[in-house]
Symmetry: C2
Subunit: 248 residues, 2 copies
């Protein structure tokens, strides 16, 4: 009846809602469930899914099951802005991981969160909350701190202005102090914040203008003893990554 888009959203909006409706851990969704999650009428969902599946962006299985398609992954990953970063960082991340035998992660800043681009984890290493393509708020991740501490003053100002303590744990002034301390030291550390038994340490990957384009971090157990050597190792690797980025 209501012709084009009763609810005032465009086709683009709907498509985005559709692919965003997939939760991170689930690989397959029922059509009706997808419709509900995306907040779209079943019929509309059905039509859009069929169209998207025609391009391989989604794949449909028997019984109305839907899952993200390989072609979508391909299209996005071959042109992604993170690809060059990942390529440059990978060898260094592996080196770090070999030496420490613990989790290594690579993140970029997006909005007021750290977006994790890559993670190397090892059997036997401590738990790591950072998932690939996962996010963490700036102030409860060492990656986030390392990233924000090396940004424009203007951006930091905007961030602190809108800063609202999620659990009331941190006041705005404490947040500001934490950033300043991180910038002064040249690395970020969070002891037992993300996870009570782990210690997160991250350093910025700086560009020519000394702004962080990424962060390189590790998650180690609280009793890790090699802290003195750890930060220099990370910083060396971060400089290596920066150099490779500048070359390309």
């Amino acid at each position: 009846m209501v012709a084009n888009s009763a609810s005032g959203d465009s086709v683009v909006d709907r498509i985005v809602r559709l692919i965003a409706a997939f939760p991170q851990d689930v690989h397959t969704l029922q059509l009706s469930e997808l419709a509900e999650r995306a907040g779209l009428p079943l019929t509309t969902t059905h039509r859009l899914v069929r169209q998207l599946a025609g391009h391989g962006l989604l794949e449909t299985g028997p019984g109305g099951t839907v899952r993200p398609g390989l072609r979508l992954w391909e299209l996005v990953n071959r042109t992604s802005p993170t690809l060059a970063l990942r390529q440059a960082a990978m060898p260094f991340m592996e080196d770090i991981q070999q030496v420490l035998n613990q989790n290594v992660n690579l993140a970029v800043l997006d909005g007021w969160e750290a977006l994790f681009v890559e993670r190397l984890s090892r059997r036997g290493s401590v738990a790591n909350r950072a998932q690939v393509a996962g996010r963490m708020p700036i102030h409860i991740s060492s990656a986030g701190l390392a990233l924000m501490a090396h940004q424009d003053k203007a951006l930091q100002g905007q961030y602190l202005d809108q800063f609202a303590d999620p659990d009331g744990k941190l006041t705005r002034d404490q947040a500001r102090a934490l950033l300043a301390e991180t910038a002064r030291q040249g690395f970020a550390q969070l002891k037992g914040i993300v996870d009570p038994d782990t210690w997160g340490i991250a350093v910025p990957v700086l560009n020519r203008r000394q702004h962080a384009v990424a962060s390189l971090g590790v998650v180690v157990p609280l009793q890790e003893m090699r802290l003195q050597a750890l930060v220099p190792a990370l910083q060396t690797a971060a400089r290596g990554i920066a150099r490779r980025l500048a070359d390309s």
Copy 2:
């Protein structure tokens, strides 16, 4: 004038054309160039880009520059069908890479091509044509052969029926024989085909029904001497990956 879609393609088609228009190596495109590549009128391109940028799927810079957005990468990579595979395979790939100090790659079958999901390369290792999110035809990649040699007979039949020699190098019967040989041996090898100086070797990652869900491969120089040990090492790793996939 011509209202909705003069050329008979839907909005979905256009969006796909838009994100597919980005070449793999270029990160930023001019709006007009994007329009031309996508085969869309400039005005339409502009409107769609603005909408997509509103969701963060694309990002616009000053002067009408457009690049893929972080949010797109995030959405796709957190739900991608390859994520579980990648997570399961990564540790084994690193092991192989450490031991051989050469390129390691992971691929899946999509259509009549091998789609490379992950690649670990090392400074000093030989050239490797396989890019992450890149494709290679089945018969000129060891990964492709390993994948197709362990599929349903029906699928293999369809593949061989439509098989057309790209350069006339390979007849259909030769292609069939190559697949059979690969299946018999349990691994695929191509000597100097992809690149005159390199040797590609790949083994299938098999599921419970003995079908290949992925392939694990290496690219080594022609003079590599450890071939005897190489295939068993790959096969062991492939079994390890299969076990981890089955567990989750």
